[in-house]
Symmetry: C3
Subunit: 165 residues, 3 copies
């Protein structure tokens, strides 16, 4: 970590592009444009859904784990074959968002999220909430996730959990 960079205030333009990346992410999921989802990550990346308890114990296993864009693509293919989106949709709410400098090439971001699940019959329920913990590549545009840890507050992970959060 670059201590000098870390203490510099974040440029407003960087902040806006980070917000846009985070917004874009929930957009492709909620609007069922999952094929665009892997493109929001760098080629070598880490995506993990885990619980707050596991995160605090530094146990970085989780319900969903991927360490390359290819693995994310495989997951999307599997979801399409299983027709998961027939049965349910998500609605993400996000905010607030923090952005912190890390180096000339990367920033760290955290954001609070809430996911509502809407079943095909119209039933809605509070599905998950927690924190996104991101490391983001800002060396080119568009910005991309190098790492996105989805830390859910509850350890009760629904066995239906298959769509990325």
């Amino acid at each position: 970590m670059d201590a000098a960079a870390k203490n510099k205030p974040i440029d407003q333009g960087v902040r806006l592009r980070v917000q846009d990346l985070i917004a874009h992410y929930v957009d492709v999921i909620d609007q069922d444009r999952l094929e665009e989802w892997p493109d929001l990550f760098t080629e070598n990346c880490r995506y993990l859904i885990t619980s707050a308890e596991s995160y605090e114990e530094k146990l970085l296993h989780g319900v969903i784990y991927a360490d390359s864009r290819g693995m994310l693509r495989d997951r999307v293919s599997a979801l399409r074959e299983a027709n998961i989106y027939e049965a349910q949709r998500y609605r993400h709410l996000v905010g607030p968002i923090w952005v912190e400098a890390e180096s000339e090439m990367t920033v760290m971001a955290r954001s609070h999220f809430l996911v509502i699940r809407i079943m095909h019959n119209g039933e809605t329920m509070l599905f998950a909430c927690g924190v996104y913990r991101d490391r983001i590549d800002i060396s080119g545009t568009p910005y991309r996730f190098i790492e996105r840890l989805v830390v859910t507050d509850s350890h009760k992970i629904d066995t239906l959990l298959a769509i990325p959060i």
Copy 2:
């Protein structure tokens, strides 16, 4: 649509004023200042509450429909006569918000929303969630909605639905 304008980055000042309009909208509803609500629209406008299913099938009918500021004013008068606010309140959460250029005079915006309903006895419930799809007049200040489509995720629209979402 103006392709050149669409590709231009959104000016930061425009973006902030759009965010302010969207914030103002939920403020007048949640704080029971409904009389100010029609003024957030242009004289000729479109306001529609519909479900995601209907929206995807391009069926632009809905539970509430208005195509002029006068119709919005009539709705407020009707709500006041029915004393709807005696029985319930809303709390809107909004975020994230996207803004896209359309022309020199207009922008498109989308935002995720969640509405909690609070009954007079103190009971609270998740009432609705979905996306606001807006076309906004930015040719003068304050900015105003030319079109606001309220696309709810669930097709189960409560028959009590009378307050604008």
Copy 3:
């Protein structure tokens, strides 16, 4: 109140630092870093949790009340002794946020909030929603709350309410 200041547009830098203060506030609560919470207030301050009904009747009593940073510190000590965080966590979602000029030294802010409570067994529930009504000292950095009124929509305040909202 300074009428000239009130009509001036808010500087973008001020707006961002206000957003950061509001974000920081929910961060220290949700991440169980409560010891940092009193430092977000000025030495002489007012912190109050009250219901929308009481607020509208100008009854500024509430479930939690403090008028100095010392009282906030005492509350944190009491919570630690009671091991409240063993039993429950919160997740705050916040948005939208409004900022209004008041004087050269202060701004007013309002923001919509939603709190999810996560019990130790993993159960989650919609715990509270409402509006933060803030008066903020912007004369130095970091910005601090002079007054934070937490106005909850429901008058049903859970008897377990002990953690700051």
